[in-house]
């Protein structure tokens, strides 16, 4: 009886919590109304495609059949992907592409931000010049770089030969070993201004009095950077790295236009391979399964991004 009473006495507490949530929602109904259009749009353009992609990933779509006649194959597409040699090659390419592009762009951007944070003659002009790669169209940049790298008549190769660094035109993008690093250089060239801008904004938030105080206390330039500047940039650095990583995972234009994933799949990354599977080969089911895997990885990165943002906010509030 006592036990029963105990259970009964616990029940009202649980039940009273639910109406409270509903009541709160009702009380804030105007707020929900304001965000309703955004939620509807998100459901239509984000939630439904995600659902459809997941659904499609369980079907086979042979070239001779319409999509509506697709054949249910369970998790076979996932099995085919994971057991495919190409998948692991493309995955390795994607990891190298993402990590190298992200980290080097970040480091270069950081260096440029620190340099441009100081006051010197021509700083504004230099800043404008360094931003050019980021504002230029990725498609145009890809075509320009394709000709810069051209294996027979590329400007870069010609300059290297002219100055005696090489005795013949180097092969940048028609070689399985050099194509990915060559494309990563283009990607870094395009992305480092973004890191630079983010970190320049971050540097504005470093309190000047702290730096002056550290100087008065005899801290060296490196100590001032490491103990004062860098801790203040940790939040913006995390966000910048995560944004770059997500952008690089999804980066399509540069590898697709410059090499189409070739030669011999050496510059295929996930997103270009997914595109080729879907639109070039009509393997919609396999491409959907691939996309689901990519989605999961990006969601994990997204989680860390949100956590980093929340961490920054709570630190700011705490301060």
């Amino acid at each position: 009886m006592t036990t029963m009473t105990g259970k009964l006495s616990a029940a009202p507490e649980h039940l009273t919590r639910r109406p409270n949530v509903l009541r709160q929602m009702w009380t804030s109904r105007a707020d929900y109304l304001y965000v309703l259009p955004a939620i509807v749009v998100m459901l239509v353009v984000i939630a439904y495609p995600i659902y459809y992609t997941i659904d499609l990933s369980f079907f086979k779509t042979p070239p001779g059949l319409q999509l509506r006649d697709k054949i249910f194959v369970g998790v076979d597409n996932y099995g085919a992907i994971l057991s495919s040699e190409v998948f692991w090659k493309v995955t390795l390419n994607t990891v190298i592409w993402t990590i190298a592009s992200t980290m080097i762009a970040f480091v270069l951007g950081f260096g440029a931000a620190l340099a441009l944070h100081r006051d010197f003659a021509g700083r504004a002009i230099l800043r404008a010049i360094l931003i050019i790669p980021w504002v230029i169209s990725a498609v145009a940049a890809s075509y320009i770089w394709k000709w810069i790298y051209h294996s027979d008549f590329g400007v870069l190769g010609a300059v290297l030969v002219q100055f005696g660094f090489l005795d013949r035109q180097p092969n940048f993008i028609d070689n399985v070993n050099s194509v990915l690093p060559s494309l990563i250089v283009v990607n870094i060239w395009r992305e480092f201004p973004f890191a630079m801008i983010m970190l320049m904004a971050g540097l504005q938030t470093v309190p000047d009095q702290l730096l002056r105080a550290a100087k008065v206390d005899g801290a060296s330039a490196w100590q001032r950077f490491w103990h004062v500047t860098f801790p203040h940039l940790r939040g913006v650095s995390t966000v910048t790295i995560l944004l770059l990583a997500v952008a690089n995972f999804n980066s399509f234009i540069i590898p697709w236009i410059m090499t189409g994933g070739g030669p011999s799949n050496a510059s295929h990354i996930w997103i270009t391979h997914i595109y080729e599977l879907a639109f070039g080969r009509q393997r919609w089911g396999v491409a959907a399964a691939y996309s689901v895997l990519l989605f999961i990885i990006l969601m994990v990165l997204g989680y860390f991004y949100v956590r980093a943002l929340s961490g920054n906010e709570s630190k700011e509030h705490g301060a």
Partner: protein
């Protein structure tokens, strides 16, 4: 080698064999022109012998005062085409609007490499156009899926006999026609006589066999330090199969048995000794002799054209229109470049595509076809049949199928060869007779839904795997054969 499921292969074989026989034969009865007499002289003899009134003929299909609406996508001109062709495209749409002033035409041009991707995507959303003009290898894929309406020349006032039998084969699926050929093309072998002479070769004699192409390419590279042959091996680009398949067939190889008199696509031959020999020839030029552009793996033919004009490539396979392209490019050049370009143009020669070791000569029977879609896949769910037929009739007429192929191709409607414009064309387009002479050697791509993937992805992949050293020649051929096996069985990644 592996086989298709037997029943499927037999069914396909039965459907295509009768048409294939007619394609491979030069003696076809009932044609508007006598294909058994086909030669440059015969083409000249019939040019200008007939007059046609397009408006009158198409007016009998769709009244000229018909009021309607039409959406139309087509494979249009791109950076590699001459300016002359751009003008004809403008003239065509102006003439159509003038002839059918009450048809609200919304046309959209797409490049060769983009059209299939965009069209496939649109169809998935039931947002296709009413009429589409596709590259020759695309039609069967869409017909097999039920996207296209049955459509034969008689539906728009022409006769089936007015079109190349090989071209008609490319619009057939399970014994029914789903489109009409607009133009047909066979490429030719182009060389720079000046470079030949400097390299110690006979300037007026092109290589007779593919083995000689390899030999000449090496000699030119060794003597002059420039690329001999303009190899193209980029993936996802139609240029690659159009240039490699003639080589593959000449050596006696093939993807299937498409080069045989009675193909049934039942046998995969990409890993046959003959196919391996053809691939070896490309390997020898790219890897062993390094006598072709290093950039071949990322190049399309449009990238080779300026190299040829700059005197940096001595031989290539292309259309007669490349001569006009060179003239266009030369007009834009300045200073010393202009002189160099002029020298190249003066020394530009066209010849038949080389043969294989056994004397077999082959070329891709290319071109485009025009199709009408089933209403459920069209944006808005309706097809204006009369307007659609007006467009199909107009483009496939003797006049416009010739004019729209003026510099680069040949009219789909054989009666185009009899028009006054053909006569003008023979006088103004240099080397046209060489490419028309290649038509009887034309081999159509396999009429299978899987063909676009095989030609645009698997064949270039095979070349790239061999040329980059990622695989040996034998491994690359075996890998490609396995991929074809997988794709025809509905599997693979």
């Amino acid at each position: 080698m592996s086989n298709y499921p037997l029943g499927r292969a037999l069914a396909r074989g039965a459907c295509v064999s009768a048409l294939a026989v007619s394609m491979m034969s030069t003696s076809v009865f009932g044609q508007s022109v006598d294909l058994s007499k086909w030669s440059p002289e015969y083409v000249r003899s019939i040019a200008g012998t007939e007059t046609y009134n397009t408006a009158e003929q198409c007016g009998a299909v769709t009244p000229l005062d018909y009021k309607g609406k039409l959406t139309f996508w087509y494979q249009g001109v791109f950076e590699g085409d001459p300016d002359l062709l751009r003008q004809y495209y403008k003239d065509f749409f102006a003439a159509f609007r003038e002839t059918y002033p009450n048809i609200d035409l919304q046309e959209q041009a797409l490049t060769y490499n983009d059209l299939l991707d965009k069209f496939r995507t649109a169809l998935l959303g039931n947002a296709g156009p009413m009429v589409v003009r596709l590259q020759i290898l695309g039609g069967v894929e869409f017909a097999s899926k039920g996207y296209l309406q049955e459509l034969k020349p008689e539906d728009v006032g022409w006769k089936t006999e007015d079109f190349w039998p090989g071209a008609m084969k490319s619009v057939m699926w399970e014994g029914k026609a789903y489109g009409i050929p607009t133009n047909n093309e066979t490429m030719a072998f182009i060389w720079n006589a000046d470079i030949f002479e400097k390299a110690g070769l006979d300037p007026e004699t092109p290589p007779a066999t593919w083995d000689e192409v390899v030999e000449y390419s090496k000699k030119i590279h060794d003597e002059l330090g420039i690329a001999g042959y303009g190899l193209v091996a980029r993936k996802n680009a139609g240029n690659t199969p159009y240039r490699f398949m003639p080589q593959l067939w000449a050596y006696g190889g093939g993807v299937f048995d498409e080069a045989d008199a009675n193909p049934n696509y039942g046998e995969i031959r990409l890993d046959s000794p003959e196919s391996i020999r053809a691939l070896q020839a490309s390997y020898d030029m790219y890897v062993r002799d390094q006598s072709v552009p290093v950039s071949a793996l990322t190049n399309q033919q449009a990238d080779n054209q300026p190299l040829f004009l700059a005197g940096q490539v001595a031989m290539m396979i292309s259309h007669p229109s490349d001569y006009n392209v060179m003239l266009d490019l030369q007009a834009k050049a300045t200073g010393a470049d202009k002189e160099t370009a002029q020298t190249v143009i003066d020394n530009m020669r066209y010849g038949l595509i080389p043969t294989g070791p056994d004397g077999k000569r082959a070329v891709v029977f290319g071109g485009s076809n025009i199709h009408i879609l089933n209403p459920e896949y069209v944006e808005g769910g309706e097809v204006d049949e009369a307007a659609a037929k007006a467009m199909v009739c107009f483009w496939t007429s003797p006049e416009w199928s010739l004019k729209m192929a003026y510099a680069g191709s040949n009219p789909g409607n054989l009666n185009g060869f009899k028009t006054e414009w053909m006569k003008q064309r023979l006088d103004s387009i240099k080397f046209l007779d060489v490419t028309t002479s290649m038509l009887p050697y034309g081999i159509p791509f396999p009429t299978l839904p899987e063909t676009p993937e095989i030609m645009n992805i698997i064949i270039p992949d095979m070349l790239q795997n061999a040329l980059t050293g990622a695989m040996t020649v034998e491994e690359a051929a075996a890998d490609a054969a396995q991929k074809v096996r997988d794709v025809t069985d509905g599997g693979g990644l």
